[in-house]
Structure formats: C-alpha cells, structure tokens
Point group: C2
Chain length 419, copies 2
C-alpha cells in the first residue's frame, strides 16, 4: 500500500468508528454540536479571512477567472451566512430513529422501518469553501460521519474551516473524527476515496460535469450525483397564456446559471401563433436569445434556427430553444428524447393533460403550472439541501436530511418461531 | 461495436421503449397480463417439461450435482407453484402512482412524492428456471421492463418460459418487450448488460457470491445485491432463557441454507452457565456442531474451539459458533466487527437493552425476541420478494414491489413564480 493509500485508509477507518458513535447520538447532542461550531466560526473570522487570503493570492497569481475568485472569497458576510446555515440546520427535525410503515403480522410480530444514518459520506467539491461547513453540518445533523475533499484552490480556507469544525467537536460529546478533511492536494486521493467500499457508504460529488463523469467511471462506492439539468416548460393547448408567459419568463430569467433554469420551451401548435410573439417580445426585453424550430420561425422570423444540438444543450445562459409541437404526446416524446430527467413543467388548465404529464414524464420533478426554477430543497420545504440528485435509485431530486439517511427493518416479537 | 454488443444494445433500446409504456399502464392492465401468463403457463406444461428435459439431459451428461439437478428440474408441481405465484402477485396492491408526504408551501404550491417504476431492470440468475417467471412477474406488476439473463444450464427451460411470457403479453395491452431474455450463453453478454447505463436502471443479481463479487467489480449500473448473511442471536443477561432456547433452535435449524440462518450465538456471561448446557443438548439433538470461545468451552468442554475464522463464516450448514460476552456493548462490538449487516437479534426482557440493540445494531433487519430466520419478504408482509438487499442505499433488507419503484417529486401551482 502506498503512503497515500494508507493515509486514506486510516481516514476511512476513523470515519467508520466515528459513524458508529454518531448513529447513536441524540438530536440534542447533534444540535448542540452544530451551535458550538457556529459560535467558534463567529469567533474566528480573522483567522479564516487570513487563510482565505492565501488562497486568493495564489489564485490571482495563477490568473483564476473573476467568477472563480468570487466563489473562493470568504467575507464577513459569507461567514455570517455559514453561521446562519448552521443554526438553521440545528433547528431542523432530526429524521434519525423515526419509525414508519408499522404493521402487525398474523403471528403477532410487529414489523417497522426505522430511519438510520447512511454511515460515512464522502463529499468531493470544488472551489466554494462554504461547502466545508454546509456539507459537514448536514452530515452531522443526519448522524453521518463525513470525509471532505475540497478543491486545491481553496486549500488553506478549507483547512482553517476544518480545524474549526474539529476543535468545536472536540469540546462536545461527538467524536472529532465525525468530520475529516483530506489534507493533500494529490489528485489520486479522490481515486482512493471513491473506491473504499469498506469504509465509505456514499459519495456526494458537488462540482462540474467533468468531475461527475470521472467519478462515475472510477467510483465503486455509490454516488448521489447531479448530472444535467436540461429542463422544459410545455405550454399546452389549454394553457392560460398570461400565466404561461409569466411562468416561462420566471423559469428562464430567475437565474440563468441554476440547474432548474428552463432550456427549451415547447408550445402546442394551437396556441403558438398567439403565444410566441408575446414570448419573443418579453424574452427580448430580458436579453434572451431565442432559437426556434421551423414552425416557430414561421411565426417569429427573427428567431435563429434551432438544431438538434439546441434540444440537447443545457445553456445555463440567456438562450432558449423553442419548439412547436402538435400534441401533448409530441411534447412528452421530445422531453423523453432530449431531456435529462431533472425538472419539467406543463402549463395547462386542462386536468386530464395535467394528470397525464404528471404521471408520464419521467423526471425527478414534474410541475403543473409552476416554473422549473423552483427546483431547490429550500423551496420544497426540506430546510436545507446537499444537492439535487439525478439518480433514479435512493434520493431523487433535491436531497435534504432524509436523503442522507436510509431505513432498516425492526421486528419485535415475544418468541414467535417460524414454520 | 461487436455483434454481441449490438444485440445487447438493441435489447436495451427495446426495453427502454417498453418501460415507457409500462410506466403508464394501469394496475388492471398489469394484473390481467399476469393472469394471462398464468393461464398460458397452465396450458404449456408439456412443452415446458420437454424443454426442461433437454436441460436435464445435458446437465446429467456434464455430471451436474444432484442438488443442482433438483434446482433445475421443472415438474407439474413446480409449474403449479409458479402459476400460483403469478396469481398472488397479480392480487398485490400496485405501488405505482401513490402520492405521499404532501405538503403545501407558504406560497400555496403543493409538493408531493409520487411512486414510479425504476424503469428497466436486469435480472441475472443461475440455475433455477422459476426465477424467469417470478422475476418477470414482480417487474411487470411494479411497471418495470426487465431483461433476463438465466444460467446456461437452464437455457432451454428459460427460452421456453420466456416464449410463454412474451406470447401471453402479445395478447394483452402491454408490450411484449416488457420481458426479454438474453438468448446467448456467451458470458460476455453479462459484461455488456451491467454497463448499459443508457438503457438499464438497476441490476438484480440472484446467485452465488462469486457472481455478485464479479458484478460488483464490473457493473456501472447500480446493483440491488445480496452478499453475506452472517446472522447473530444475542442472549442478554435479562433474557427469558426458555424463549432464548426456542429462538436459538429455530434461528439455526429452521433451514440451514437460508441467509437468515443464525451463524453465531452470543450469550451474556451472567446466564451462560445456565443457558449453554441446554443449548448444547438441544443442538446436539438436531445434529448441529458447536464451536465455542474459551469461556464457552469452560462450560461445555465438548465444544470444538472457535477461531476468528468461525466468527467470520457464513456456514449455511449445521454448525454454530458460540461466544460468551460480558456486556451488550461487547455483543454489539462483535456484531459490528464480524457481522454482515444482514439480520441480527437480541433476546431480552429488559426494555432498555432491547431499545439500545434495536437502535445501535447497524443491520438491514434488527429483531427483538424473534429468530433471525424470519428474514423473508413474505414474513414481513411484502407479499413477494425479489431478494434481500444488503445495500445501504435504496432498498435495504427484503425487497418487494416497493423496492422496485422509486419516487419523483410532483409540484402543483397556479402560476406562482420564484424570487
């Protein structure tokens, strides 16, 4: 075993031991620990901003883009947001230990399912150092140990944040090893982490698509992952067109860069004549470029032509593909063919169309008369989210505390025997 | 692409198309299809027994062991059991489409989770041809398309059974491609199947550990898998010893070969003197060999000595490892160290000990005052099971229809916008 493999192995072993302690911690203990971390964070602004400055200096020297510098930067304000997040997560209901689906079998034994932590969660993330706190907090509250692996550009910031986490934990009843940061920038560390099936129960990658695709190939540990968000709004023949317009504008322009942003608008041929010119005018006011199918361009000749590449594209930019369809079936076929199974919406007043779309569109979130930009754990009432999963198994869609737990069966009897 | 890869690719494509149709099928359609299969099966005994005879002849020539021949054989009785299974599955409640966890957000939008099929399920199994019918029936009822890959020794039987499935389906409203059998004995086919992430949503391997371990290495599609069943019964200081004895005997002797069979008995030192001689007498009456720790052998010197290898072993045979522990903590440590996270039980009258064990033992099933041999979907009230999962994510423990489904988020609004 190489030194690096040995280091990772030791981290894994310690995490697994910590996970056992965490699994039996009460909600009070976990919440107290989160508040202790918040207090320590409040007291450590100077240290953190200093550590962060080293990352910023190094980044500037390497010529990091401004957007990346922004993500990297810690300020009194961003630190206060992290503290506030800790307090919010502390106040959320603890899913661990709850029993559900209890039935009594004919022989009198009682069968239930109990919610329990997943165990050890590996978090692999890129430049934002706030993930160090946010992810650790969600893992702690749900009773999981975590192994954090941040981006090399945020190295000093992450080390300083992890120190705070562990110092605060060491003053509580929870084990400090509940949170461990991999303190090497060796890229091979990730390769080991995602293969340690003996110690790590799940990997949550938070980063760009190239990271996710690499992990999908390499990982032996299951991933809770987020791939593409190619989201659609379908304006049905029976849509309220004013509502459709406001939904479409919000879905596209609320924020261009989020995974729930609408990337293609589908509109039924019966209403396209009326709807598309209004859409074009409003979108143009917002500076959104439209790329349309042939039928769309017959109605709005100023649109650029859309190709298949546009149906497939997650723009994350002020660009929208537009297609006229002849039926709800054609709309759903388009979504099945080109969509990414993230979030898709129908705008309609017709209850049958709404029911069909809701039932048949195979996406992690399906909306009726709502813009796709609502795809977010806070909006769904989860209180917090570690990400949005495009997996089909286990957690699908926004992942909150419950998505970081699993269920075990618990059976109670009075000595019944089988057979 | 090789011919084989192309063949698998085509199967995958057809399965995915069929899965879309199946996802929107009503329960009535699915149940009717299952009953149509049952009727056709009833009418095809002669054909099936003839096809099976070809497999049996080939197996005899290759000198297959008697136990394997037994598994391979189809008889009027085993065919009737398959038909009965189809009728039972048809009568189960359909999980698809049910809504849960509905909340209304402050802005008035309604957030729910809807149960939906997983999509395309690959089933890889070994000698028992009845799996062809059982697995297909569970997949159909839960709205999933399936791709079946049976063992080469049951090739002719499986082809004949798959023909019946597809013929029966072609007379219903469901697509015949809902069930496809991979009709090649080329071992590479499995390698392709478990990597087709574009078409296959989950693989359920039903076979020996070597198959599972191979798939764990090769698969890119998630597995719902079953590894070891190293199950424990812990007889607490506050156990009712008569109850403990009957639980222990049942847990070991109900059937030696099942994954829920007890493999190690742990007994608290305070009651070991009284309990172990009774256990030894009863187990000896059943022909079960005991292998004990030093303390056990001080009480029952006839026991063979147990080594670490015994704590790790899943005997699946009339052999039992026995260890005296000084506390419930030591019992739980033993289970955490040596157990496989399958099914573990405590026998106790003390409610605190029961609660601790239930909460802290990290197994897919944890029992209080029940023998581990209850680990079975039928016993839990699932109506049927496709297997017992030792995964932590998604389905854990016995997997019934619900384990073959997932949930999507469904949001309803009246044009609310974000921000």
């Amino acid at each position: 075993m190489t030194d690096l493999a040995q280091t990772l192995n030791d981290i894994g072993k310690r995490a697994k031991a910590a996970a056992r302690d965490l699994a039996r911690a009460t909600d009070t203990e976990k919440s107290k620990a989160l508040l202790a971390i918040a207090t320590k964070l409040d007291d450590s602004h100077a240290t953190l901003i200093e550590a962060n400055q080293r990352d910023l200096d190094a980044a500037r020297e390497r010529g990091l883009a401004d957007a990346m510098m922004d993500r990297l930067k810690l300020s009194a304000k961003s630190l206060a947001t992290m503290t506030e997040g800790l307090r919010q997560i502390a106040a959320l209901p603890d899913p661990v230990g709850s029993l559900s689906n209890t039935t009594v079998r004919p022989n009198g034994m009682r069968v239930s399912q109990m919610r329990v932590p997943l165990g050890v969660i590996g978090i692999i993330y890129e430049s934002r150092p706030n993930v160090t706190i946010d992810a650790a907090a969600l893992c702690l509250k749900s009773g999981n140990a975590c192994i954090l692996r941040g981006g090399s550009e945020a190295f000093h910031s992450n080390v300083a944040l992890a120190d705070i986490l562990r110092e605060a934990l060491s003053e509580t009843t929870l084990p400090a090893d509940a949170v461990q940061l991999i303190q090497t920038t060796d890229r091979d560390a990730v390769g080991y982490l995602v293969k340690m099936t003996d110690y790590v129960d799940v990997i949550v990658p938070r980063g760009g698509k190239s990271l996710i695709r690499r992990l999908q190939d390499e990982a032996r540990v299951p991933l809770i992952k987020h791939l593409d968000g190619n989201c659609h709004v379908y304006v049905d023949a029976h849509a309220d067109l004013d509502r459709a317009l406001s939904i479409a504008i919000n879905a596209k322009t609320y924020r261009y860069g989020i995974c729930g942003a609408m990337e293609t608008l589908l509109v039924h041929a019966e209403v396209a004549d009326k709807f598309l010119p209004k859409l074009e005018a409003e979108m143009s006011r917002h500076g959104v470029e439209l790329r349309g199918c042939e039928k769309s361009r017959n109605i709005c000749p100023a649109m650029k032509p859309a190709t298949d590449a546009d149906w497939a594209e997650e723009y994350l930019a002020p660009v929208l593909a537009v297609r006229v369809v002849n039926s709800i079936e054609q709309a759903m076929d388009h979504i099945a063919t080109w969509g990414s199974g993230h979030t898709d919406a129908i705008v309609t007043q017709d209850i049958d169309a709404a029911n069909r779309f809701e039932r048949e569109v195979d996406s992690s979130s399906v909306y009726v008369n709502l813009p796709t930009c609502f795809a977010d754990g806070f909006e769904y009432g989860l209180g917090a989210e570690i990400g949005i999963s495009t997996n089909r198994l286990h957690a699908r869609g926004p992942v909150g505390l419950e998505g970081l737990t699993t269920q075990k069966w618990v059976l109670h009897g009075e000595g019944q025997t089988r057979g």
